[in-house]
Symmetry: C2
Subunit: 597 residues, 2 copies
Amino acid sequence: MPVYKAPVEDVTFLLNDVFSIERYNNLPGFADATPDVLEAILAEGAKLCEEVFAPLNRVGDLEGCTRHPDGTVTTPKGFKEAYRAFTAGGWMGLSVPEEFGGQGLPATLNSVMQEFLSSANLALGMYPGLTQGAIAALIVHGSEAIKRTYLPKMVEGAWTGTMNLTEPHCGTDLGLLKAKAVPNGDGSYAITGTKIFISAGEHDLAENIVHLVLARIEGAPAGTKGISLFVVPKFLVNEDGSLGARNGVSCGSLEHKMGIHGNATCVMNYDGATGWLVGEENRGLNAMFVMMNEARLAVGVQGLAQSEVAYQNAVAYAKDRLQGRALTGPKFPDRPADPIIVHPDVRRTLLSIKAFNEAARALVLWTALNGDVAHRSSDEGERRAADDHMGLLTPVVKGVLTDRGFENAVKAQQMFGGHGYIEEWGMSQFVRDARITMIYEGANGIQAMDLVGRKLGKDGGRAVMSFFNEVGAFCQENAGDETLKGFVAPLQQGLGHLQQATMWFMQNAMAKPDNAGAGATDYMHLFGLVALGYMWARMAKAALAKKAQGNGVAERMDAKLLTGRFFMERTMPETATRLARITTGADATMAMPVEMF
Amino acid sequence: MPVYKAPVEDVTFLLNDVFSIERYNNLPGFADATPDVLEAILAEGAKLCEEVFAPLNRVGDLEGCTRHPDGTVTTPKGFKEAYRAFTAGGWMGLSVPEEFGGQGLPATLNSVMQEFLSSANLALGMYPGLTQGAIAALIVHGSEAIKRTYLPKMVEGAWTGTMNLTEPHCGTDLGLLKAKAVPNGDGSYAITGTKIFISAGEHDLAENIVHLVLARIEGAPAGTKGISLFVVPKFLVNEDGSLGARNGVSCGSLEHKMGIHGNATCVMNYDGATGWLVGEENRGLNAMFVMMNEARLAVGVQGLAQSEVAYQNAVAYAKDRLQGRALTGPKFPDRPADPIIVHPDVRRTLLSIKAFNEAARALVLWTALNGDVAHRSSDEGERRAADDHMGLLTPVVKGVLTDRGFENAVKAQQMFGGHGYIEEWGMSQFVRDARITMIYEGANGIQAMDLVGRKLGKDGGRAVMSFFNEVGAFCQENAGDETLKGFVAPLQQGLGHLQQATMWFMQNAMAKPDNAGAGATDYMHLFGLVALGYMWARMAKAALAKKAQGNGVAERMDAKLLTGRFFMERTMPETATRLARITTGADATMAMPVEMF
């Protein structure tokens, strides 16, 4: 049975020592999150994930969801109780403003909890995760009536949410979507169409399901400028808030997927279902983007989460499995063989995952803190800078953390040899579950195009310049610090490569946009390497300072520094290859005739 | 339903134009393989794979194998008939010497067929594949009586073979194995023990199953020097060759695996089963290595095979799926959107797979031709050089082609977006099936250690020096050729990196073997890049020559050159990163205390 222990200590190190969360005390909700409260919340969240969510992970994979002839869907055994434990603990509204029934705590805490939940049980964690995304969208774009009707029930978890974008013929290219909305004359609309790949579209965890649906109002312009967003509940809601008639939306079938079997991935049929407009007519994509951006960050976290839980299990196996002897002679001569963690190739593999995980966690929290600033600061300049950061880093977090997260799950599985391929050990599930994170909420190629095609040039490159300035300033400030030399020098080099790549796009992609398209994925990963390297440099600085204070943390901080050193030595050199690929340009890529592929 | 078309044209280009197979006409069996015969054989093999094996691939995945209470195992529907078509066509003995009932054709042809079979249906192809490996081991190490008893039936495919190495507590470290053999006094032995992960251990395709089993003869030395190899048939064989009593070996259970569901992966229980020694007492590993080396090359081919079939399906989808518009404006303005193959990121992904596949196929055939020389040449020097090549390249082919093959299957799946995650499309199966190739026949970390720890220094580095000389000479000879500049220059640089890495090991790994262990995987991939780059340089040269001859092949040869250019520009730069990682050494990797992982 796979193990999982939530990395609480690492999170408190990041929040307290690296990012000094107390500096954010002026933001609403942060003053309540004193170190004691924070620790208590994390401990409680860890317990829920370790003891309630994690034991159901394999159950969910084996059982999957079942659709019955009447269109209802049953989730795997135990999911209902676990979901109830989640809602009873108030986790759904952890960072939802108090006026909507939440606790108003930092959204950063919610990101931490998302990691723990997704490590413990990705398929189960998706039900509340989607609901939180829908809540965020309704808070920003819902009318007062919609907020009043849906938010309290969603925040308490009695009702869950979904996002309905994809149709059989369109996923990425939403301009092609066909679902239509016809005004009923009473302010509501009749929604008709088919949506596919709808996670948590139908299930037995909640009394009602609140679908956010993209559709085209009769007569709307073609393309993306004619798409509106609607709220379509499974059960209509009466004036007094009680549930009324069943709405004309139902689950037509469940998909058979490679993984996340515990989550119901539905084909949803809308057959004149009653819906209400969210936000403005024809501005649906804009409204949905609140949910999508939220979801993209959460999916990045899922990538990290699978990497983390796969790593923990690989470490446990590597300490336990006896096979062969250390190259430098037996380490445990009294045993028939040494545990495989003595082998350099095993250690290298494990450290490459560990070094990624710790930096990725830092990147998530750094970005989440910026999210809190963007939403809660009273200072416009601060809000704008934080929002720039969010926009720029969202595709990087989504794309890089899921690509690497999957790779790492595969590497962790590899540590088990043949046993890794056997389902009973659970490593295959981590790989199969992790695989979806590279695809949903915008496949990673789309994230790369979002970064290169939209985010880089936005506002005259303000966001990316600010990122370069921050990293550059850090390097400059710490250039003289001998103890940080192993971190600053490779970071500086990586930053140089990233700046050269950016410059190359400016010079070569304006006239030939294919040059940007052909380099986008490498650029996204180059950006990710520099961002992760920067996180390591900051963690190293904080670890050195913490170690100097004493308090018996020397061993832990030394391990941190060693892990960081491994990252700088073994992962950062990749920046050179990424740059080299980008600057070869698109000629060879575009010249091949279609029929010769 | 996934598509598959065997790449016959690419194979004939390699055999005729790149490797000039007619130069091998002095070897036994090669003179029979005239261009016409070759083409006829490949066409026939392609047909079997495309029309019989491929349509059963998904069936096998869905149905899997079933073990009945009496220990018998049923394979998926249609497998029996397909296997019969294979044996009826004489494919099992394609390259087996005529004296044992085979056709004596080049083993190189068998490698080609292995690729086609593994692309079409990996799980089904494993049954004959293991049989061929067992045949090879028995030819080299079996006594006359054993050869007479088993080989004819195996070559005709009436009986299949297996290899039994792994036990629950030992896989890589065979020195720990416990299965025991007690002499029966009549020349036979009673074999007792449990073997796990035995592919094709029990099934309904053949009348008898011939297990090759590693076990320890009573009183044998501990460790690897006390292991012997035995042949243990499922049914004992009477003097007249007819089947006798059921032997004391049975399938205890089937494993539930991530993929290759159509192949029965068995726990095999030996309960005093009667077996006969193959080769010398206590030299069982030596005898088994014939089968393992054969199998390692075949598994490398399987990696390529999954990459190829996944690629073909991704191309078909990319030409068909309409989504978005080309960055340079609509390419099909009359359609609602352009096919996604217009997008640079999609093309980049597809080309990276294609460029690998074509070079990997060349590497396989180059190595297979060396195998034929090693086994068939009458010249001792030629045999020795070819054998050196085989020893050096076997871990590279196995490790690199399977690591990349899996990565490529993942990339191809990514082209399908959400549809790639749905089992119906078949892309998930390619990924799940490809995953085993990185693990079995020695996990890839073991291949890397074999290369760095055994093969590099063997015979004073004779094999690796000869490889460097060959590639270096090619670069020198063609340095002045302007048309090859884009190939020779990056190859030369990659070779330089590989030589530096080799030198670094010589200087730093003698005293500290961990430096070799921590760099082994990167070294294996660096070696693979140079080997694949060399294949591209040779293919480019052949393509230019062929194009110059006319004959209407210009378009195909231009595509070849473009694909090669893509490889040199986008894949070769990785050599620098690999070298940088290797030369950081093992310090950071080895310093981490076990409890801090």
